[in-house]
Amino acid sequence: MIASIAFRKFKALRNTRVALAPFNLVIGPNGSGKTSLIESVMRLKTLAKLPLATGAASRQRADGPAIEFNFAPPHEGITAQLGCVSDLVCDTLRIIPEEAAGWAALRDELADLRSYTLQPEALAGAAQRADGARLSSSGHNLAAVLAHLRSAAPAAFAGMRAELFRIVPEFAGLELVEEGGQVSFALQLTEGGQVPADELSQGTLCLVAVLALAFDPDPPRVLCIEEIDRGFHPRTLREVRDALYRLSHPRSAGLDRRPTQIITTTHSPYFIDLFRDHPDEIIISKKQGRAAQFSRLSDRADLGELLGEGSLGDMWFSGILGGVPEER
């Protein structure tokens, strides 16, 4: 979907470009532009809904803040430029060429970008039953999304439940309770009894949310998730990665559907370890002073030798790969 993003003077991203793959795991220290990358994608979505900036007035100062998007086929001929009034705020969208024939179709696809920062407290709450078509960015309507999935796509709901109970075998049932237009959920214990959502562990709640996204029969074009490892035991991270691969590489899961481009971030060396076979999926954000640069792990010439010496996570932590906090 999105082939690349170039940043100029936007927050910590002073002058850098990142090429995006179907799956992108962004790693780096705090304040190195990981969230800014996701914010830029969501800003593109917002501005694409508004009238485009046109004419000479829309052109940015040559050296001013800007973000430029290029797209994968069939939209490779269109460039989208976000114009920024400061290095924090972008408020106009211009496309090049201005009369691009494919813009209407691309704009429709850009409306289908989603970003998540899953909040366990929000995930556990009751939700309006009618609010279940799409998981909200914090996941506050998870119960409604589960209810919607159950009624609108029972096979997908059954698949999601089966996967959840396989990963967390102490549970054997998912109960949805509807009352007064609100819905809440609970998990039934294999040994009897049930645990209401607000008593579930944070990791279990996040797992339910990730699986709800992974089994959505109509997933978004681009899915951004901050801190994907949040709350998960390191041994469960493989299942989380697999759930995301189900979206980004549906054929690998035996699904005949359009892939969802994934952009996610982590600070977990254990999650990074899982990309030994696909180092091309790791983007490292390196920060020097206040400026950050993106690079692909697979761009390293000595990657083959490095992979023979140790785990990716350990190497990242050591600083060999870059993307670690500066020390004085």
Binding site: R235, E239, R251, S252, D277, G310, S311, D314
Partner: protein, 215 residues
């Protein structure tokens, strides 16, 4: 006999349980959950702690360890000479780790030491899975290819042949691993012949006797 497994993934562990049982000719009791390493060199780094834990805190008799060789030196007959140690051979390294660790431990739990069975999959455990299905995949073919400066296959190709995708889900990976070792469980002689790194594991397992680790 009670065994512990140290492996690199749940799929490896599931397959190794079958292969170990096939070699021993019966279903041993396994310590659960299995111990997990995050690839090399984490296997070697963890092994002393796992051995100490097993020795003092459990009634396990033995530890089974299997790691991938990747592109490292492959263990051969010369490495079996008394006192020989090849620093780039993972089997030599793991045997040394076991030797160095257990020799310092006093008797505990009614036994002298936790014995070991160590195997190295060349270049990866997926090659074992393909044994008997793909005659071009053998330890000898790998060594010969490396001598000629051209590996006959890559780890990624082996995974693709076993799983049909380069991004298998864990259940799919386990199902494929169990399917392949299930094909071999009734007779592991071909696996021992084509993969000396497995034959050494089998030899270690067969060397165990009820009195092997008694004081």
């Amino acid at each position: 006999m009670k065994l512990a497994l140290l492996s690199e993934s749940p799929a490896d562990e599931a397959a190794l349980r079958v292969l170990v049982a096939a070699v021993l000719g019966g279903q041993p009791q396994f310590v659960a959950p299995g111990y997990r390493a995050r690839g090399w060199p984490n296997v070697a780094q963890l092994m002393p702690a796992v051995l100490r834990h097993l020795h003092f805190n459990t009634d396990a008799d033995a530890l089974v360890v299997v790691a991938d060789a990747d592109d490292t030196v492959v263990h051969d007959a010369r490495h079996e000479a008394p006192g020989y140690f090849h620093p780039q051979c993972r089997l030599c390294q793991l045997r040394a780790v076991h030797r160095q660790t257990v020799k310092k431990l006093p008797p505990a739990q009614g036994r002298g030491r936790v014995v070991r069975a160590i195997g190295i999959a060349v270049p990866a455990i997926e090659a074992w899975y393909l044994c008997g299905r793909d005659p071009g995949v053998t330890e000898a073919a790998w060594i010969e290819g490396r001598v000629e400066g051209r590996a006959p296959y890559t780890r990624a190709e082996l995974k693709l042949r076993v799983y049909g995708t380069d991004r298998p889900s864990l259940p799919h990976e386990i199902a494929c691993a169990l399917r392949e070792v299930g094909r071999q469980r009734s007779d592991v002689r071909r696996l021992e012949n084509d993969f000396p790194g497995f034959a050494l594991l089998a030899a270690d397992l067969r060397a165990w006797t009820p009195s092997a680790n008694k004081r």
